[in-house]
Amino acid sequence: MDLLNALIVFSNFVFIPALAYGSQLALGALGVTLIYGILRFSNFAHGDTMAFGAMMTVLATWWLQGMGVSLGPFPTAILALPFGIVVCSLFILATDRVVYRFYRKQKAKPVILVIVSMGIMFIMNGLVRFIIGPNDQRFADGERFIISVREFKQLTGLREGLAFKTTQGITIITAVLVVLILFWFLNKTRTGKSMRAYSDNEDLALLSGINPEKVVTVTWLIVAALATVAGTLYGLDKSFKPFVYFQLLLPIFASAIVGGLGNPIGAIAGGFIVAFSEVTITYAWKKVLKYSLPESFEPTSLMQLLSTDYKFAVSFVILVVVLLFRPTGLFRGKAF
């Protein structure tokens, strides 16, 4: 038995990756949940919004790299992020003016807005493929590891190593910062408070003189920023591939619903619940068990509950269980 090594293996393959993935999902789910809370529909275009924002960041990163600008050990993409956010915001605001506003004025049923968002999804997906192509794009640079397996082993003398990638560190720190800013904004500023009021009770908010168009505009701006950050972080951590963002839609929605649609804290919790379940269920536990069990109990098989190809099944099962037993989500969203 060697619990310390077991812990290291666990952190290396489960805890840190799930933490990073969870942060990305949480940022994505926050966007979905905000749209649901303010605009009252499920935005199917969110995955492709993430891809669009990330693409703009990738393009800006390439340009910066071409100019010889770099951040030293940090990825250049961080410098390019504001550009991505601005372009994505402009695009999103344009879709709101040209498309969504019409249906808002009409007070169209939410399901119509969902179908409209399907149209936006097609357009954004097409644009991304048109501009950058459907293939994998690499744009990460700078130092690859905060601490690599070899350094860790030398440092501690343990048999197992712990790798902590720069992108994982940046993902987690950025997510924490973004969430702090968002909650400060929602709870302390006048605009944030009017957003919450509008989400709670539209009529009462209108009655007290809140300008709905302003609330909606601010919401789209925040959503565009969140989506771009989430998309860029995901692209840095894994790689940028347009189609993958579309597939993120399912875990993101699962996170938002598990936490309670319309509830920001729920979205964050949901993101981590989904990420940790996905990683723990699809991870082969053999090595961890080898260290943590007495020798006679050592497992012979991989001890993997489900192959990684079924990770969607995990978010789906969580989703169904929550829907069946607690349809409003763990944090009481505004589902009904």
């Binding site: 199917f44 149209g119 097609f122 644009l127 839609l249 699962a254 989703l319 829907l323």
Partner: protein, 433 residues
């Protein structure tokens, strides 16, 4: 007036296909026609769910893929060796798995004490899962080791592939029953997310369970309901007939085969269309629309809303399953890697919305028109792009990039088309009466 418009729209479709025949080739035209027929059937299936009952199903891809799977399971030649080394074991494991699930269900139903209920169910689930995996995994390893380059799966029943069409519908209906039991009765957004998820899972299963249908190694060369071109070309009678009409025998054979498919597909489309039309105008159809328009009122009138939703969800999904089996028949291969939600779920939605939801004729029209555009946007885009970039140098990077990207124009076009129709003609080309 209304009828004239409908007639003109369908004449337009015929005209478009004829133009393709004259300008491009008759093979392309017939390919568009065949896939158009299949698209029209899928679109009818979605129209039954969305147009009749207002159910928001975005898992069409999954039902289509299940139909394709049925084509393999029914018509592929059986691999006897696989059955003898591990097939029985796999089936046994699945039966055991179902048995465990039923036991857990009964346990939850019968035991009153909530602590006993929870822990008992949990222990049953965990123990059951591990026993299942032990039986199942050894079977899978044995089956996949049988001549992996060409088989490595259980094979099918070796029946004629036409049998697979209704079976595909049944398979999709079964899946729809399970999904509907859990997800119907929730808000429409939730049903959407749930179906989106189940479709991804079905594709994941077909991709990864190699013992079932060879996964991404694809099952190719499924039997066909039509003769092979090569046989026709060696048939003297056929060659003579082709020569006497004045067509090259090779072209004639490809056209002949496609025409047979077109005939078969048309029969299915017509049958399903007539049934859908009868259903729409029956008391049952009126009840469905009543439920769609006001669930609370319908419930107050004593209608079982959730039950009716389940019914129509199963029916619509079954139609998508039939279409899926037909598509796999047309390709005579199952390639799970090609199933993508934009193409197999959302494109069908565009067909229904553009054609006119709630109107069967509209759904059929949407199927044809959108499929035609989906295929033809690329050559049209290429042509336009050539004109647009004619001022640029032949080897300029921008021109090359633009020409490469033309292939992705179709997504953009579909999005813009969907938004335009939703905005300016929200009830579609042929609105519901």
């Amino acid at each position: 007036m209304e009828n004239l418009k409908i007639a003109l729209l369908f004449i337009l479709v015929v005209f478009l296909i004829l133009i393709t025949g004259f300008v491009q080739s008759w093979n392309t035209a017939l390919l568009i026609l065949n896939m158009g027929l299949i698209s029209a059937i899928m679109s009818l299936g979605v129209n039954i769910q969305w147009g009749f009952a207002g159910l928001f199903n975005v898992g069409i891809m999954g039902f289509v893929a299940l139909g394709g799977l049925a084509a393999v399971l029914v018509s592929a030649p059986p691999v006897y060796e696989s059955w003898s080394v591990g097939g029985i074991r796999i089936i046994g494991a699945i039966v055991f798995g179902i048995f465990v699930i039923v036991t857990i269900g009964l346990w939850i139903k019968k035991i009153v004490n909530s602590r006993q209920k929870f822990w008992g169910a949990l222990i049953l689930a965990i123990a059951g899962f591990f026993i299942y995996r032990t039986i199942f995994d050894t079977g899978v390893v044995a089956v996949e080791a049988v001549n992996p380059a060409s088989t490595g799966y259980l094979g099918g029943l070796g029946l004629p592939i036409l049998v697979a069409w209704p079976i595909g519908g049944l398979l999709a209906a079964g899946a729809a029953w399970v999904i509907g039991k859990t997800a119907l009765g929730l808000r429409s957004d939730y049903l959407a997310i749930a179906t989106l998820g189940i479709a991804e899972i079905i594709i994941a299963i077909i991709k990864n369970e190699d013992w079932l249908a060879r996964g991404v190694k694809n099952v190719i060369g499924l039997p066909r309901p039509a003769p092979y071109e090569i046989d026709l070309q060696q048939n003297d009678k056929f060659v003579n007939t082709a020569n006497s009409i004045g067509i090259d025998p090779v072209t004639a054979s490809t056209l002949y085969v496609k025409l047979i498919y077109a005939g078969l597909f048309s029969i299915v489309l017509i049958v399903i269309f007539i049934l859908a039309q009868r259903a729409l105008h029956s008391p049952w159809g009126r009840m469905m629309r009543a439920i769609r328009d006001n669930e609370v009122a319908a419930e107050a009138m004593g209608k079982n809303v959730t039950g009716r939703h389940l019914q129509i969800f199963i029916l619509g999904s079954a139609i998508c399953g039939i279409a899926g089996a037909m598509m796999t028949t047309l390709d005579s291969q199952l390639t799970p890697g090609t199933y993508q939600p934009l193409r197999y779920t959302f494109l069908i939605w565009v067909m229904v919305i553009v054609g006119g939801s709630g109107n069967n004729l509209g759904a059929v029209l949407g199927g044809f028109i959108i499929w035609f555009l989906w295929v033809q946007v690329e050559p049209i885009g290429q042509f336009l792009m050539l004109i647009l970039t004619s001022g640029l140098a032949e080897d300029s990077a921008l021109k090359l990039h633009l020409m490469d990207s033309v292939a992705h124009m179709r997504l953009l076009t579909m999005g813009i088309l969907l938004l335009l129709v939703l905005r300016f003609s929200p009830r579609g080309l042929i609105p519901e009466k």
